[in-house]
Symmetry: C2
């Protein structure tokens, strides 16, 4: 017998037919003797409709009211799934975020979970009742208001609940059957990873792989909670019921790296298209100049990623190139214009026609030469590298957007990540 | 300065444009210095969609889950209206039933309000913040579950809240501009009542006038809360702001009868089409026979309205005629079939082709002859009376459904209720 948290996203709950399919996945686990808590998103499209209404009501709006409105989508699916489970003879009840309670801070619209008292739900699970819990939301206790975790927050809810009820496994059901070595739409030969370490998954999530929300991966890593990614779009009977400790089978399991026996040097290739590059030309080269540029950007909450600095030919001036999220480019340019007035004249150039391509793998720690191989392969294809950033287990390069898919395919072959 | 509760139904909140119109009605009161709590229904059609999903999930379903799902509609409109009010510069916040809390019993789907601690909301109102409160719902405190009051329950929420916050007036905004002497679709000359007593309104509500929910009228009567019915479909500036104690102007005000100076003998004519008649023929006439029939019906929670009993020609048998709600006719017939087995043979006849037409007026208490006039006028039109029931302030007759509209028009002229 295992304690399992099963999380289902909006496409898995898009209508009553799909909700019934989800109920059959839950029934498979209950029939095998497992204790199950289910975390649900809103029906696909519903949250978008609610957000559109809020924006129509007023472009600038109280985030507490926004949360109160958009949190209703999950309440609907939680109640409906509980009813369908009951109709299959499975004891079940729905729980809203405030009923558990899932306690969050007061950053409405992008709240962080602070605490989940899990004993009450755990007791009900032990008695054999399935708990159907609204994802994406909680309660801010000081003002007693509903809060939401931001888009994609249901993954985070699921992992946090799994930790709170001391589950053996957190299964994230989605519309893909696992984590791949690269985006299969770009690399048809991409293969499913059976296991991936938290560290690798964290890099993949933050580097543009959309399978899991970054915060949910961080949380799983902190709690060492095994998290599996698998598809709800298979027949419920095609999957084996969960058996704690044995992770073989469907999907991709995210776990401690020492549980991954056969390690590859490189596990996957990620890419992100929503990058923008800013180049500042001919800045007077004096101490403190970097601080005067990146300080104001940080104050405006603009994340700066890669940074490259070069001296200009005559040595008196310097050029600085860095990247920001494409969506933040207009705000970043505004901040830089006000800096321009203080620092004296420099030129600003920007482009959103850039992509970031990354090679990820925990094996890189003990293997030299991965970066060199990468730069050589890209060079041979005539792909120019605009900036580089690295961590212990990843190398990212910024390139012209037009070459992004070629780069991904090239690197996927280079590290022999394909099937067979 | 007055404390006002304003309640808006689903057609008044059907889309953002209508919600903005509602906000302008609220603004008119706030600008006049009034303190306002707003009670909202769900957008028109939304609750029906939610109910349809629940029924599709399972025809027999847990009422607690039903409540959890259908209560979301009001959460959406409450949040949206709060946002629109804020955008007009009016401090406002939404309150869900469990946040106030509106404490109910555990009869999920048709819960009754037990208690509303009103001081916290009252304090916020005094500070000038508009409270936008979800109608139709509350919380059952023992299991901490969301409960709903049944369809039309938002009227009851509004009156209960008005009593809890000690409001001066409860304004119910709807799609008609008041209570009429008869249904204007049947009697084009029907006139709007300026004032109506609680007792009269209670009879009208329970006799088929759909303007207010019966329970809300009972509650208003218990608390002696002045309730006004008026239309949200007029320009917000066309209405005068509320001034406590002066009820002249738009709509119909429901108040104590001693506040109604010019009393008419008859105030209005109501009719109900959803009646069904059951006749039991040739029952052995012995003591206790009525109890053996109406006891089992009461146990099955079937409301019996009018009852007529006649001896048959030979004196050994009796015939009993009574009415039930049309929707309960099949259940009533089932109960009677089981009674038939115990009491011995009798015949059962039933018809739903009957209507109940009622004459209502507090003046009837001190005026004899109202009934005699009524029976004579109906007789002159050739309308046969199948059953009669009376109270201190109303006379109801059951007639063939085909004559219902003729009867209403006849009685409306008889008591001179028309315009001019």
């Amino acid at each position: 017998m295992s304690f399992v948290v099963m999380k289902f996203g909006g496409t898995s709950l898009a209508d009553l037919e799909r909700i019934r399919n989800v109920a059959c996945h839950v029934k498979r686990e209950v029939d095998a003797g497992n204790k199950v808590a289910v975390v649900v998103s809103a029906m696909a499209g519903v949250t978008n409709q609610l957000v559109a209404w809020v924006r129509e009501a007023a472009p600038l709006h109280d985030a507490r009211e926004y949360d109160s409105v958009v949190a209703t989508g999950e309440q609907v699916t939680a109640g409906l799934l509980a009813i369908v489970l009951q109709s299959l003879g499975i004891p079940a009840r729905s729980w809203q975020g405030w009923q558990i309670p899932i306690v969050t801070d007061n950053a409405h619209g992008a709240a962080r979970i602070k605490e989940i008292p899990g004993t009450r739900v755990r007791e009900r699970l032990e008695q054999g009742e399935v708990a159907v819990i609204t994802g994406f939301q909680g309660i801010e206790p000081e003002r007693n208001r509903v809060s939401t975790l931001g888009r994609g927050g249901s993954d985070t809810s699921a992992v946090a609940l799994a930790a709170a009820v001391k589950a053996d496994l957190c299964d994230i059901y989605t519309d893909v059957d696992g984590v791949y070595t690269a985006d299969p739409r770009i690399v048809p030969k991409a293969s499913r990873l059976r296991k991936v370490s938290y560290e690798e998954m964290l890099e993949m999530a933050s580097l543009g792989s959309k399978v899991l929300q970054t915060r949910s991966v961080e949380l799983a890593m902190v709690h060492r909670m095994p998290v599996r990614v698998l598809s709800s779009f298979v027949a419920p009977e095609a999957l084996e019921p969960v058996k704690a400790g044995t992770w073989d089978g469907a999907g991709t399991i995210m776990c401690d790296e020492d549980e991954i026996v056969e390690q590859r040097v490189v596990s996957g290739i990620a890419y992100a298209k929503d990058e923008a590059k800013i180049t500042l030309l001919k800045i007077a080269d004096k101490p403190g100049v970097a601080a005067s540029i990146f300080g104001p950007l940080a104050e405006a909450s603009i994340n700066v990623d890669m940074i490259v600095q070069n001296l200009s030919a005559d040595g008196k001036f310097t050029d600085i190139t860095f990247t920001v999220q494409e969506a933040e480019l207009p705000r970043a340019l505004n901040v830089l214009k006000s800096v321009q007035k203080q620092l004296g004249a420099f030129d600003i150039k920007s482009s959103s026609e850039v992509s970031k391509v990354s090679v990820i793998g925990i094996g890189m720690r003990s293997h030299a030469g991965v970066a060199a191989q990468m730069f050589k392969a890209l060079g041979e294809k005539g792909i120019n590298i605009l900036a580089i950033s690295t961590s212990e287990i990843k190398i990212s390069v910024l390139i012209d957007a037009a070459y992004a898919e070629l780069a991904v395919r090239t690197l996927h072959s280079l590290y022999e990540l394909g099937k067979d």
